[in-house]
Symmetry: C2
Subunit: 181 residues, 2 copies
Amino acid sequence: MILTSKIESFVMHCGEMGSRWGFNRTVGQMYGLLIIHQEPLTAVDISEALNISRGNVSMGIKELQSWRLVQVQHKPKDRKEYYSPAGTIWEMATRVFEERRKREIDPTLSLLRDNLLDEPANQKEVYAQEKMHEIHDLLETVTHWAGELQSMSPDKLNTLMKLGAGVTKVINLKDKLINKS
Amino acid sequence: MILTSKIESFVMHCGEMGSRWGFNRTVGQMYGLLIIHQEPLTAVDISEALNISRGNVSMGIKELQSWRLVQVQHKPKDRKEYYSPAGTIWEMATRVFEERRKREIDPTLSLLRDNLLDEPANQKEVYAQEKMHEIHDLLETVTHWAGELQSMSPDKLNTLMKLGAGVTKVINLKDKLINKS
DNA sequence: CTGAAGTTTCAGTAATTTCTGAAAGTTTAA
DNA sequence: TTAAACTTTCAGAAATTACTGAAACTTCAG
């Protein structure tokens, strides 16, 4: 048994949150386990630690790879694959954000763009297009600013946060400067 | 039939995306319909437009109300309840964000905080706590900055976006000003 | 009161998603 | 080339989630 009870509670929590974060329970547990465990783990380790079938582990790893969240390593004289989380915590969060944007926002933006190209055929469609336009612009704005945040280092953000620098204040300042010039 | 085919495609799309946005297919459809339709709709209207049972509409409305996304109206001389989306598109997005934060982030932050209060019992737990600390700090930073963005008006964000003002640039500026003073 | 017009609830069923385990596939050492 | 050691796949079973429709409930006009 590789799990102490405190660690187990974290792993199980990841499982429960998994579905909210975009994957299913066992995939969530697997990811939590890989993050919290210092040494890379084999598929069998995971299967035993979480009491799930070997086949399920294989599918879960595939899923995590599609999110670019795990990496595979090999040890000399050992044919097994060893799995560990890919990148820093910040990078992982960035990847989850990006993947979710692809799944949750991009398809909608694309549908909206298509729809907005057509002429409205009647009064109802005029109203509908107005709303679609609003949603479209909002989604573009949100993805733009989310991207901006992602491109910053977490250290910098933290420092600024502790300095009490709200985006609002900062941007107001910028606004004034722009208007002056 | 209240749906033209173009509008129907939007509503069905909301259904498909529904589960990714945190609710289920029919709730997604219902919300899409309410947004795209200028006049408020009764439960029966919704049930007929989407071909779902009356009971399901009732449960869906309840769900949307728990997200604070619909409001109920009454017409004089008419006992029926008329439903329409609550607030502007921006407010709706803000509410979805907030609700999702409550469901997806807050429980994890709380678990992490609890766990970080305990002394690690062995080497593995020392490592585990380090990781939990990193995740904790990241989640706090992200929610902080997300809150900042939410508190801004979308107009202002759009204007700044079009001016080419990246957060990075803006914040660098602020940084310099702070260091000077 | 009464009953008509509406809403909500919830047990049972339907649909969907996830998991298992056995079979098929792959890789490598000898 | 063989076989051991490992991984992947996938059909069917299990678990979960969503939906229906009938009964219970609420409200209100007469």
